[in-house]
Symmetry: C4
Subunit: 192 residues, 4 copies
């Protein structure tokens, strides 16, 4: 069983998720700066989600690159991840449309947690049938450190949203920065 269709299908779904979010970016009536300004919260929310979905695609790409065979477990774990990612546009729209109020920000943090947990489940499903692939285990080891840190930060962002949603948003940005920094070790593992 090849992995090419799993990759192609995931690419398709993630490409759609990342793109349909713009459908919510509707400039209100008026052809001036004021009309454009009203877009700012929805646009900020879109940028944040674009970056998160981009990070997932990036990691998914790295993870699948070393996978050799696809089991039923991997298939379903992957669909599960895609399901949670598919809810990102709704949560993004809700958060941006409500000017980053407490409750929508907390719900967004919960969703990011669900995505993170689903990604971990996918990693476990892959690990489960690649027990002797050292390259893959090394790569996952690297991703897991960051992954656990992200899950911890997302979870912290849930109650913090009720104190001040700005703190939660800063946490989201922090997590994004953590993932942005390229991991020299991972690139080294690939080139081995």
């Amino acid at each position: 069983m090849g992995k090419s269709r799993l990759e192609a299908f995931s690419d398709g779904v993630i490409a759609i998720i990342i793109t349909i979010m713009v459908l919510e970016l509707k400039v209100p009536e008026g052809a001036d700066l004021h009309a454009l300004k009203t877009l700012i919260p929805v646009l900020s929310s879109y940028i944040l989600s674009f970056v998160f979905v981009g990070i997932y695609w990036n990691n998914h790409h790295h993870l699948l690159a070393v996978v050799k065979k696809i089991s039923a477990g991997i298939m379903w774990a992957n669909l599960n991840l895609l399901f949670w990612l598919s809810l990102v546009p709704v949560a993004t729209d809700w958060m941006g449309g409500n000017y980053f109020q407490k409750f929508p920000v907390a719900v967004y943090a919960i969703l990011l947690d669900c995505c993170g947990i689903s990604y971990t489940i996918l990693q476990l499903a892959i690990e489960n049938c690649h027990k002797d692939n050292i390259q893959l285990i090394n790569i996952m080891q690297r991703q897991k450190g960051k992954g656990m840190g992200s899950l911890f930060l997302y979870t912290a962002a849930i109650p913090l949203a009720f104190i001040n949603p700005v703190i939660s948003c800063l946490i989201f940005v922090l997590v994004a920065i953590i993932w942005f920094i390229p991991d020299k070790k991972i690139e080294q593992i690939y080139s081995e």
Copy 2:
């Protein structure tokens, strides 16, 4: 004639079908738990359809994996399946938006029946030009048992929706569970 573009096109269409359903998930005004609660019926309906489309993609993937050549019949049978699947978002939206009332649930069951019949037609079209491919015939034999069972259950769900739509929904969940359980036999056939 290669099968790669048929797979790529089907992946694209199924990826879009599974993803555009979220466009219907619109949180109503308000940034509190109450606004989120109103999403529950549409979200349940979405989860159900996500799982069904996911199962079809999964089976399509397994079926096409052993196909060697593509005939005009397979092309059209595949487009026919994609057509019925493309109606899933509309039916999902209607069922969820009307709080799983009798009539929309029955229509949803009819649509699942149409999808199931189309999948069977695709199997027949493939069988028709792979008469000496034992691996493929074995895989289809496995899928057919479950397929016939599902068709029977969907058909039963149509009249039952008018008695109590909850029964039909439980049947939908039951069919999903049947397909979720990985088929050891199929994985064995592939590894042969």
Copy 3:
């Protein structure tokens, strides 16, 4: 220069075109047969367009299968075809939403003409840099007969829509049937 990305991009665009049309299929309020009935014109219009876009994908698939190299001319001719196909959802929605009235039906026929002409331009662009590929020239010869017939019928459907749009719709169905009938000769050419 490979043709794989041209195929992948075209598959993506056509998959989206064929699928986003369902976004217009919105069941009006009500959970009964009456609400569903109001869908009939939009649904008929969708089925017609699904079949037409399906036929284009099918022919595109056959045409590209024998192409060896991609020139700038082919790139632009292909984008031109995709442009006209991308207008199909708008015309479909307009025709269905206005219960197949004269003017929208005529506009739909004009659009089908534009798609047909664009396809012919793509064929010419391909012919232009594959002058010694006999297999390709034979396949195009087969497609051209049907193509010219279709263009003639679409053109006839424009004025006929003003007499009676039903006649034009019957012509659309007729053209679809012409393309449905598998061409034994083409399959023979491929297997040569």
Copy 4:
């Protein structure tokens, strides 16, 4: 690390961007020529953006065709380009929906500038890890001349929009024509 998934994902996102713009093409009520006429500004705006996104896909295709390896920098530079391209539908819709007024036209020009700069960043990221690939450097040299010219023209179109938006639109058309003219030199470099 292969480049196939980067290409596939970019193809997916660009295909969606180029296609979802039609979702804004909604014919207003009425089944006559008058209703169709109201589409003209939105349609013109769509054609312009279709051509621009088409040019980007074309160039992206040429650029990636000679890339050998993918670094983290290329991944993020590519996502950055896709982000700016994903805003094209919103800007297109706003410009067309406001009949090409000064401010939306200026914003559109700014967006095209952002896309152009992102493309240049992607080129630099690729150059950075392909320092000894002469074929790639030659191709980029050819694209850079046109690229710099385009950036200059887009930048000029920003203030000019406030004098007369028609001038800016003519500049957009001019840039499109510059890219339309096939570059014999580039095709020569590929065939070397």
